[in-house]
């Protein structure tokens, strides 16, 4: 038997209960589909309209004539291939940096236990308590002229990649997962004389696949969704992300093309979501509240 909820099975079994259940269910299905899929349908449909039909009142539900060429116009005029490639480059670079540095740090804090490890973890977690937006201004000034290295990171991918590593929440999630790996497994490796790198690579990483998946998805989606930071640090139009590029070109392009561009920009993360739905949902509820 599945666990019972608010409304008792007996109540649901009665005719009145059944009618009420199915009425509410149908209403919720309808409203949710309209509210959450409706805008996506609107985006797809209006991307296919002519400019004239787009601004016409009353609006048409389905385009009277289909213009798929809007999508290719948008692609060319807004240079979407460049924006898309830029965003991919930033997203997967950030993913690589987070996987390497954050996993190594979490492994060290969890298993190698260096001197001052607790203090370091505490200082990392403390960054979660500072509102992120407060740090935008000093962070911006820092990347303008990185101390010691004297480098200006503006318009370079490093400006996205390196700060993405400072994700204390990821490190915390990974560390908790590594903590839960049975001791015997690692002791056995140590007996066989495995070095830390080897232990991490052949024992810890293979059993950590679920958490690595979750961290990876959130890393990619995080870059895909970010707006303020890339807007500030990538002023060169040739280096911008989809969000920033489309935003800065939005006013100079016909509406139907712009909406077509929005559809193209949304597609990658929607696909990620449809493919990795289960991992995303479990990651969200597993780690969602333990910050």
């Amino acid at each position: 038997m599945t666990t019972r909820t608010l409304i008792s099975p007996a109540q649901l079994g009665r005719t009145r209960g059944k009618v009420a259940y199915w009425t509410v269910f149908a209403a919720v299905m309808l409203i949710f589909t309209l509210v959450f899929l409706g805008p996506l349908y609107w985006m797809a449909a209006n991307g296919l309209k002519t400019t004239k039909e787009f601004v016409q009142t009353p609006p048409t539900g389905f385009p009277t004539s289909l213009h798929p060429e809007n999508y290719s116009h948008a692609w060319d005029v807004m240079d979407l291939s460049r924006l898309l490639l830029n965003t991919l480059w930033y997203a997967f670079g950030a993913l690589a940096f987070q996987l390497v540095f954050d996993v190594a740090a979490a492994f060290s804090l969890s298993r190698l236990r260096p001197v001052f490890g607790k203090l370091i973890l505490g200082m990392m977690l403390a960054t979660l308590m500072i509102p992120a937006t407060v740090l935008v201004v000093p962070q911006y000034l820092t990347v303008l002229d990185v101390p010691i290295f004297q480098r200006n990171l503006l318009n370079s991918p490093w400006v996205i990649w390196l700060p993405s590593v400072t994700n204390a929440f990821n490190i915390f999630l990974l560390k908790r997962f590594f903590d839960s790996i049975p001791r015997e497994l690692l002791d056995a490796a140590a007996m066989d004389g495995a070095s830390p790198v080897r232990t991490l690579w052949s024992i810890v990483l293979p059993v950590s696949r679920p958490i690595l998946g979750v961290v990876s998805i959130f890393a990619v989606v995080g870059v895909w969704k970010d707006f303020l930071w890339p807007m500030l640090t990538l002023p060169d139009p040739g280096k911008q992300t989809l969000n920033v590029g489309i935003y800065s070109l939005a006013s100079g392009v016909p509406e139907n093309w712009l909406v077509a561009a929005l559809g193209i920009a949304s597609l990658p993360t929607l696909l990620i979501f449809l493919v990795f739905q289960r991992n995303i949902m479990s990651g969200l509820t597993a780690g969602g509240l333990k910050g």
Binding site: T133, P138, S195
Partner: protein
């Protein structure tokens, strides 16, 4: 503080006998090998930490310190001087400061009514369904995956007073048309509606997971006592999810008080007569439109002090929840 525990757990085997008062010194002298091994172990452990540590140092910890320093500095004509409290007093005397706070609190308040209550209501409803839960869950989370520029520009079109969808819907049910983003009365509400649509998925899923952990016997017991639907929600559902509800409430407050992207993309930040200027937008303006980093940092400090209390409460609550 962490050194003693480390010494105990790390290299206990060899040096137990000679540990009376100054373990450090003795350890180094009596067993060279243990010390060398410990050193090597620590070196490799810190080697693993190095990448993350450097990133944190440069892009988190240093900016944190810099935020405090900036708030008390002034930069004019290329050289920087100490400004004492003048940045803070400038910020407090700026009429935009009070308006930004009023707007931000309005946003936070509205977002709590919509963005906090609605996901819970939705989760409680969905949890009762024996069919289609996966589909409905997916629908609610869908907007979270859209790039903000897409969802926000979509809403901008829906809000258009001319051909926009929303006025059309209002017309269908016989309500008067609205100016939405163009009027001081409705601009902030419009921003909140869009923001709620974009962001409610995460909270809904977290509530759903929490609801699924409530033992069914509690509802049975409540029914034996003659409790109706609302009483069951009030006396079982809410108390059973209280911890998560309060954590989410704190998280919402912290997040909504930092709102920037939604109003910035929907109304350009200010909105009609500054009706959607939020505190973070004001920080942005000080820093990037007026090149006044000192005032931006000072205002950031005000926000930080206000949110520190909520953050501390959040950390305390979630610590308690871990055992």
């Amino acid at each position: 503080m962490s050194a003693p525990t480390l010494a105990a757990s790390g290299e206990s085997a060899g040096q137990r006998p000679g540990q009376p008062r100054r373990p450090r010194r003795i350890r180094a002298n009596t067993s060279r090998e243990g010390f060398a091994r410990a050193l090597r172990r620590n070196l490799s452990a810190h080697g693993f930490l190095l990448g993350a540590l450097l990133c944190f140092a440069f892009f988190s910890w240093y900016p944190m310190v810099r935020e405090f320093v900036l708030a008390f500095q002034k930069t004019e004509g290329g050289h920087t001087t100490w400004a004492g409290w003048s940045n803070l007093s400038y910020v407090f005397h700026d009429p935009a400061f009070w308006q930004a706070w009023r707007n931000t609190l309005l946003f936070t308040g509205l977002a709590l009514v919509l963005g906090f209550a609605l996901p819970f209501l939705v989760a409680v409803t969905l949890n009762e369904f024996r069919h289609g839960q996966g589909y409905l869950r997916m629908l609610v989370y869908l907007p979270v995956m859209l790039p903000p520029v897409a969802s926000v520009l979509l809403f901008k079109y829906f809000y258009d007073p001319g051909y926009g969808l929303f006025n059309r819907l209002l017309g269908l049910v016989g309500l008067p048309e609205q100016q939405w983003l163009q009027s001081t009365d409705t601009a902030m509400v419009s921003v909140v509606i869009a923001a709620t649509w974009m962001n409610m998925g995460g909270a809904t899923l977290i509530y759903l997971a929490a609801l699924q952990g409530i033992p069914g016997e509690l509802y049975e017991a409540a029914e034996l006592d003659g409790a109706g639907l609302l009483r069951k929600i009030w006396h079982v559902t809410i108390p059973q999810t209280r911890l998560i509800l309060s954590l989410m409430l704190l998280m919402q407050i912290i997040a909504t008080m930092q709102v920037f992207t939604e109003p910035f993309l929907l109304t350009g930040g200010d909105g009609p007569e500054g009706s959607t200027t939020t505190v973070v937008y004001l920080i942005y303006q000080y820093a990037f439109n007026f090149n006044n980093y000192g005032s931006a940092a000072a205002l950031g400090l005000v926000l930080l002090v206000l949110l520190a209390g909520f953050s501390a409460a959040y950390v305390r609550l979630s610590r308690g929840s871990e055992d």
